[in-house]
Structures are given as C-alpha cells and as structure tokens.
C-alpha cells in the first residue's frame, strides 16, 4: 500500500478533447486525422514544458468530427465515439448565445471538452465559450485559423482556466486547513446620523448564494453569515472633484481604507480554529462624503466601486440614491436597500468572489489568435472553471499534505524523547489513504472526488501536525538537571562514597590479616 504512493511525476490529469468542424464543404482535403494531428501539434506548442501541476498530461486524446453536407466523418478513435448528431447545426441561430449553449449541451453531453467550428457566411469571426464544457467559433474562418483557435481554446481556456501558466498562486486559495470557508457579509453604515440602511439578506442567500455554494461543494465547505454594523467610518481620506461632482478616492488610498479599529468584523462564531474567514463588506458612506467613487490610475471612474484583498475579502462602496438626506426629521431615516440595487451589489460580490479564487471577474478572454467571450453562469462558476478549480485545489492540497507530513516526520525524528500518541499515527495513516484515493481519482479524471479526497487528506495531515500533545519544549538542559537534582543526591552520594571507601580500606586491612593468619597456619602445620 505504501509503495503505491511512490510516484515522482507531478499530478497530471487525463483530458479528452473533441473538435467538430461544421460547414467546411468546400475543402475536401480536410480529413479528421489531419486536423487532429495539426490541433495536437498546436496544443503541444502552447503548453508549457514541463507541465504544471493540475494541468493535463501531455498525451492528449483528440477526437475530430467533420460534419459536412456529405455526411459525418470521424477520426478512427476506438475508445470514444463522438455523440455528435450530424447535421444538427444547420438551423441554429448564432446570435443567441444562451440558446446555442443549451443546444450544444444537449447534443454534446457535456463531459468532454469540445470546440465546434462553424464555417459561416459572416466575415467577422466570433468565439464564445459556453457555461458547460464546450465553445464555438462562428464566422468565415480558414482551416489554419480554425485549428489555431481550437488549440488555443483547449489549452488556454479549458486547461489553464484563462490564465497564461494555468497555476493559481497560494494567495488565491482561500480555503482553510479544515476545508471550510466562512463568508461573512457585513453592511457598514458609516454614520447612522445621516441614514441607516438595512438589507434583506435572507432572500439573496437563498436565491443567489446557495447555487454558488453548491457549485463549490467539492472545493470547499462554505457557510455564510451576515451582520449590519453602525458607526464605522473609513480611515482613508477622499477629496471633492468638481468634474465628477463627487468625492473621489484613488487606488493609493485603498490599502488604508479598511479601518480595523472601528470595523469589528471579526465577530464570527461559526468559524472554527482552522477555517478561513472571507469578509465581504458593503460600505455606505456618510452624507459628508456622498457620492464616493473610486478613481483608477488611468483617470477613469471604476464601474464597480469595489476592490479585494487576497485572503481577506472584498469591499464595495455603495452610494445611496442621489445622496438625499432627510434634513427635516431629527431621527435618521431607516431604509432598506432595494432589491435591484442589492442584486447589482451582489453581482459585484460575485465578481469579487471569483477574483478571490483566482479567476477573472470579467467575461472576456483575450488570446493570441483573438478574443473570446465567456458566458456567465447562474452558479457563479461555469463547469469548466469548476474543473480548473478542482484540479488546482487538488494539487495544492496534496502538496500541502505532503509538506505537512514531511515536516511532521522530521520533527518526530529530531526529538527522540517525545512521545507520540497513537491518535496522531492513525491520522497520518488516514491522511495517506485519502491522498492515495485522491491520486487514483485524479488519474481516472474524476476532478470533483479527487478534490474532496485531497481536502480530507490535507485536513487530517494538519490535524496530525497541529495535535496539541506535540510540544517540543525541552526545558531539560544539562545545567537545569544538575541544578535541580544535585541538592538531593550530592550530600547523600558524598556519604555513600565515603562509607564505601572506608569499607574498602577495612576490607584490605582484614584481608591482609587473614592472609597473614593463613600463612602462619600453614607454617605451623
């Protein structure tokens, strides 16, 4: 069992791709095999060598189908037969992205990464990546360009998740060591004297947040809390700008925006010791600073008025409508944020949440061979994005698990006098089992279950390492021992030694006398 773990390759997943070319009637030279090999060569050019952890292993399997008026021709791939129905793309209207997405999902099945290249009449080439695991390219596209686009979409978007290297850094993995994230939503009224706002968080939680939380189930166990705080000014300054007719704060002020002295955000009771808390703050400025807008370094005003800090959370500044203050009444007016405004705010929150996980919050991918637009999903993350996250988190968790167990073993080795409890050994064992399971799942291409097992492995490894009984404090320096024990033993040992010496001398004397007596007896007899 243990030797099965020994593998010196980085964790790579097997991926299957599928490319479908529709409508290339005028090119009878396009055979599926030729296309397949050219796509393969393009993809190999685009992947980094050596392959990063969490990406696909280098022997890609690509199935190509050419759908033309003469019928469908497929690559002779014995394992997977494409589920493409010939001629089904004839009547689709490509201006309706959602409809096309749905239709493709129904016909392709959604398990294998696919790109459909449709040779249309329009001059302009459009590339769209759908919510599931397919993308399509429409337009007057030549064969070479089609191959290049398909390869790029496969490698850069589906495998790497829209990033260049396909690696998510540790600061964009906000999952706690026990696999849990606590999302803490805070509505901050900076000066309740001006206005007091409330929000209907319950409805947002049920409608908008729960699909997102369900989607991320394999990556992290998420729980949600919310609170409304009052008297929470920010600690940076803003200045009035006549042109924009509002108060402006710039990106230079962002690091000082969060006023930790007055913002008591850390009052979560649900979070255990090793969970990660992400703070999502909706800040309502006071009348003195209303409206408050964020200005970017290039002079533009931000469309979202929000920013994030990796591993901490995000802040959105929401300005009340027209900054109207009810100046007649003494008491501040209690208002609720309207549903439309709240929905808009939550769209920004979703963007920030995606940013915290390392994905982009906008819907465009700009690549070498052109721009593709990415469709947005109601669950906050599309299927292929969830795949990327699962793979990367599996990698990260297994790496963390291995280093933790390595440190634990080094620690145990360096302190031979330390007593390790059985429980820790069992946790290590279970952690290794979970890690093996994760690796086997990964080799089968099951992203979700490998992510869950890797999370389990990391949790157990951390539990073992941070077990409170392993305290390697050694007070017992030699001087300490000597100082403590010598007053007990030194006086007694001194007496014992002296007595032993006296006895030894007496023994010698008596022995001498005895020997002398014996020789005398012998002489007499």
């Amino acid at each position: 069992m243990l030797s099965a773990q020994i593998e010196s390759n980085p964790l790579l997943f097997p991926c299957h791709f599928q490319a479908i070319f529709v409508g290339f009637d005028s090119k009878p030279s396009m055979t599926p095999d030729a296309l397949g090999s050219s796509i393969l060569s393009q993809m190999t050019k685009l992947t980094s060598k050596p392959p990063q952890c969490g990406t696909c292993s280098t022997n890609y399997s690509i199935a190509v189908t050419v759908d033309s008026s003469l019928g469908c021709i497929q690559t002779r791939n014995l394992e997977d037969t494409s589920s493409w129905r010939c001629g089904s793309m004839g009547t689709t209207d490509f201006s309706d992205d959602e409809g096309v997405d749905k239709a493709l999902a129904d016909s392709l099945g959604g398990k294998v990464y696919s790109v459909v290249v449709v040779h249309g009449d329009r001059e302009e080439v459009r590339a769209v990546v759908g919510k599931y695991r397919h993308a399509w390219v429409v337009g007057r596209v030549s064969e070479a360009e089609a191959v290049a686009r398909a390869a790029e979409i496969f490698v850069k978007v589906f495998v790497n998740g829209g990033k260049e290297e396909g690696l998510i850094h540790g600061e964009f993995m906000p999952v706690g060591a026990d696999g849990k994230i606590v999302l803490s939503f805070n509505l901050l009224n900076s000066d309740p004297q001006d206005w007091v706002y409330d929000w209907d968080f319950q409805s947002i939680d049920e409608t908008l947040l729960s699909p997102v939380i369900e989607a991320l189930e394999s990556v992290a166990n998420i729980s949600v809390e919310s609170q409304v705080l009052y008297h929470t000014p920010k600690s940076s300054f803003s200045h009035w700008d006549d042109e924009q007719e509002s108060y402006i704060f710039s990106t230079k002020d962002l690091p000082f925006f969060v006023n930790s002295n007055e913002w008591h955000l850390d009052t979560s009771i649900a979070a255990g010791g090793r969970s990660k808390i992400l703070q999502i703050v909706v800040y309502i400025p006071s009348a003195r600073e209303c409206p408050l807008l964020l200005q970017l370094p290039n002079g533009e005003i931000s469309k979202t008025n929000g920013f994030i800090s990796p591993m901490w959370g995000g802040v959105i500044v929401w300005n009340p409508k027209d900054c109207l203050k009810d100046s007649e009444s003494q008491h501040p007016l209690r208002r609720t944020i309207s549903q439309q405004d709240l929905q808009k705010v939550f769209e920004v929150v979703m963007g920030q949440f995606r940013q915290l996980f390392g994905l982009k919050s906008n819907n465009v991918y700009v690549g070498a061979s052109g721009t593709s637009s990415l469709l947005a999903s109601e669950r906050g993350f599309t299927e292929w994005e969830l795949d990327v996250l699962s793979r990367q988190h599996t990698c990260f968790n297994l790496h963390s698990c291995a280093t933790t167990l390595g440190s634990l073993s080094r620690l145990v080795q360096s302190l031979p006098r330390m007593i390790i409890m059985d429980e820790i050994g069992k946790q290590v064992m279970y952690s290794l089992e979970a890690a093996t399971l994760a690796r086997s799942n990964a080799s089968l291409g099951l992203y979700d279950s490998s992510a869950v097992s890797s999370r389990q492995a990391r949790y157990l490894a951390e539990d073992a390492f941070f077990h409170p009984s392993i305290m390697s404090v050694s007070y017992y320096s030699f001087e300490h021992c000597f100082a403590v024990y010598s007053p007990f033993f030194l006086p007694v040992s001194m007496h014992v030694l002296l007595a032993a010496l006296r006895e030894w001398r007496r023994y010698k004397q008596e022995n001498k006398k005895y020997l002398a007596w014996k020789t005398k007896v012998k002489k007499d007899s």
Binding site: L2, S3, Q5, I6, E7, S8, N9, C53, E98, L167, E171, S203, E206, T207, L208, S218, P255, F256, F257, S260, G273, S302, T304, F307, S309, P310, M311, W312, Q340, E347, G351, S361, N362, A376, G380, C395, F396, L398, H399, A402, T403, T404, L405, G406, S407, L411, Q413, I420, G425, Y430, L437, L446, S449, S453, Q456, F466, P468, M471, S472, Y475
Partner: protein, 404 residues
C-alpha cells in the same frame, strides 16, 4: 505502558518516515510551483510581556506602548496577540487606578480604551507562548487567541522582561531558552506560517536570545549585547517605579512622528538608536534576511498595509431575460435541477470515515455505544423508568431468598 506504546509506535513512525522520504520526490516536483512567489498579504503582531509584580511596571508599559503604536499604524485587534500579566492597572499599589503611563508627564493613558489582552495573568507561560507560535492549540481555543498567520504574513514579535545569557525569564518561574525559540521559529517556517519575521527583544543581554536562529526570513534586534544590561529610562516619582525602558522609549519616539502613510525604512529605525543614550548597544542580526533594510518600510512590520486589487467588472449571474423575482416561494421551483456534479466513488470516502469511527471505539466503548443506541430507541422515558423501579422489587426478593 507508556514506554511500550512509544516503542511500537516508533517502529511505525520509522516506516512511515521511510515512505515519506521516498514520497519527497513527489513533493519536490511540486515544490517549485509555489516557493518564491508568495506576496505579503497581511501583518501580525505578537507582543509579550514576561514579567509580573509591581516593580516590573515598566515592562508592561513597554508592551502596552508598542500595542498602541501598532494599532495606530493599522494592525487590527484580530491580528494582534497580546500577552500580559496585567497586574499593574488594578494593583493596590497603583496610585492611579486603571491607568498605566509610560512617561512621567502622564499625558498618555495606555490602558485607556480598546485594549484587548489575549493571554493574561497566569496564562502567560512558555508553553502557551510556544502554542501560539507553532499553532498547536486544543480545539476549544477561540480564534482570538490563535496566531492565524499564513505564508504571506509578516509577523512582529516583541518580547520584554528580564533576561540573561540565552534565556528570558517568564513570570518569575520559568525560562524561555534561545534554542527553544529557534526551534519554534524553525517549525513555523516549515509550516509556512510567516513570510518574514521581525523579533524585537528588550531585556538584559537581549542579543543572546536570538543567537541560535537559523531560519531564513527572520530579522532580529535586541536592546543589548551579551554581558550588557538594558536600563530603564526614568523614574516616575509619582507612581513610584520606573515607567519605561530606554530601548522602547527611543523606539516609541521614532514612531510617534509617523503615521500609516509614511514609508520610512527599517534602517532609519535601527540607526536611530544611540548607544550612549541607551547605555547599551542595540544589536541587530540581518544574516538571515534577504532584503536590504533600506528598501523595507517600517510599516511592513509595524503597520498593516494590505495588497488591494480592483474589481474590474461585475459578474452578471442571471441572464438578461429573467428578472429578479422577489417572492421566495417562486425561487424554490425556479432552481432547475442542474446536472449535479457527480461525485463518483462516494463509497470510498464513506469507508475512510467508517474506519475512523470504528477505530475510535474500543471494545468496551462499542458495548457502551450499543447500550446508548438501545437507550435512544426508548421513546417513553417515564414508562421505562417506572418499569425499572418495579423490576427492583422482585430482584430484591430473589436475592434475599438466595442468600437465606
């Protein structure tokens, strides 16, 4: 029995070690993915005052002054661990109850408001200190008492009290040895609990406390070298004791003229210490620290400057066709049973958790648990109890008959 368990356990651990060493290849291949690329994401401060009793007033004043400075420059309470014996402010000998000063002009009350002490009184022990540093707490310890740093954290560790050659005295009954501190820092580094660590020690012979450190990314400064004492700054005749130490006094003097927007470098802080004013040599150790001190602003450790990224655009969740429906009831049937992401092989996961549960119960415990399960099945508790009481009478009769 302890030793026997320990012995058999050692064998198993050695086996595990062997395989782990072989598994190191696996981790080494992954190691290059995330080694140098961590960015500074947050700041933590661990401020420890290791003395108690009234005549060590100045140590508590030192720690509280630094606490106030660090808070003023932006580190929030949730990222500060303050360990104090906390017996000065309400001490019977304090002429100014609930007030702690660090200057005889009494301008600043350090104990005024918003002071959150995490470990106080007899909780300030060497063991708790190491538990904070290494993160090995019992499950019940609250988050506010834990050092929840990660690989992007910069940590400031400030210790003050009475110290000596390679040790620091804790609460007059224990000692913190320099090799233990080095060991704790090494474990922290292995577990990637910090990106950079600044250790400031204000005790006699302070520089010896960090002489055994070997982990990279650690910067340390002490108020005096081996063989030198650190002295208090002045005596407050009103309170009756010395109220601040020289090293901390000049450190505070440096920080009083800063606010969080400043970017004075560490080298200006370190070179502001004048040996003749301190009456000792402030020694700092930079051999384990890669960056140049001129480039590091003091707010990297004493303030809290977080990396911020602007959000470019909102992520439109709902398609343009569907508008948001206010009714919660309607949203219930709106949730389309999407293709749930299948988790194949759930049985394996259950197996592991079952193994967990089975092993946790020993034989006796298994019996107890079955008894408990049976008890739970009983719904009417009162009837059960009365049946049991009624049963006692015949049992008693039988036993009496047997004994006669």
């Amino acid at each position: 029995m302890r030793f026997k368990m320990y012995g058999s356990f050692r064998c198993r651990m050695v086996l595990l070690l062997l395989f782990l060493l072989l598994d190191c290849n696996f981790s080494n291949c992954l190691a290059d993915t995330s080694s140098e690329a961590t960015t500074h994401t947050n700041n933590w401060a661990v401020l420890v005052c290791t003395s108690r009793f009234w005549f060590n007033y100045r140590h508590m004043a030192n720690t509280l002054s630094l606490y106030r400075t660090v808070k003023r420059l932006g580190i929030p309470d949730e990222r500060i661990i303050l360990m104090l014996a906390d017996d000065m402010a309400c001490n019977a000998r304090n002429k100014y109850p609930a007030q702690v000063f660090n200057n005889e002009n009494h301008k600043l009350n350090l104990y005024g408001d918003n002071v959150e002490v995490d470990y106080r009184g007899y909780e300030v022990t060497v063991e708790n200190f190491f538990r904070v540093l290494t993160g090995r707490h019992e499950n019940a310890v609250p988050r506010s008492k834990r050092l929840l740093s990660d690989e992007g954290s910069h940590i400031l560790l400030y210790m003050t009290g009475h110290g000596g050659d390679e040790f620091l005295k804790f609460q007059d009954s224990e000692e913190l040895q320099s090799h233990d501190l080095a060991d704790a820092v090494k474990q922290m580094k292995e577990k990637r609990r910090f990106k950079e660590l600044l250790i400031m020690v204000d005790t006699c012979q302070a520089a010896t406390l960090f002489s055994q450190l070997q982990s990279p990314g650690v910067l340390a400064i002490g108020s005096s070298m081996k063989g030198e004492n650190s002295y208090s700054h002045h005596l407050d005749s009103d309170v009756g004791v010395s109220v601040v130490d020289r090293f901390t006094f000049y450190t505070l003097g440096f920080f009083e003229r800063l606010n969080m927007y400043n970017n004075d470098s560490l080298i200006s802080l370190f070179s502001s210490y004048n040996p003749s004013m301190l009456m000792s040599t402030a020694y700092y150790r930079t051999d384990l620290y890669q960056r140049h001190l001129e480039e590091v602003p003091v707010t990297n450790f004493f303030g809290s400057v977080m990396e911020m990224i602007h959000t470019d655009s909102a992520y439109s969740l709902l398609s343009r066709k569907e508008s948001f429906r206010v009714e919660i009831k309607m949203s219930a049937d709106k949730s389309v049973p999407d293709k749930k992401r299948l988790m194949d092989n759930p049985s394996d996961l259950d197996q592991i958790s079952e193994l967990n549960i089975e092993d946790q119960h020993g034989a006796l415990k298994r019996i107890w648990s079955t008894i408990q399960k049976e008890m739970e099945k009983v719904e009417d508790v009162d009837a059960f109890v009365s049946y049991g009481l009624v049963l006692i009478v015949p049992l008693l009769a039988v036993s009496m008959w047997l004994t006669w």
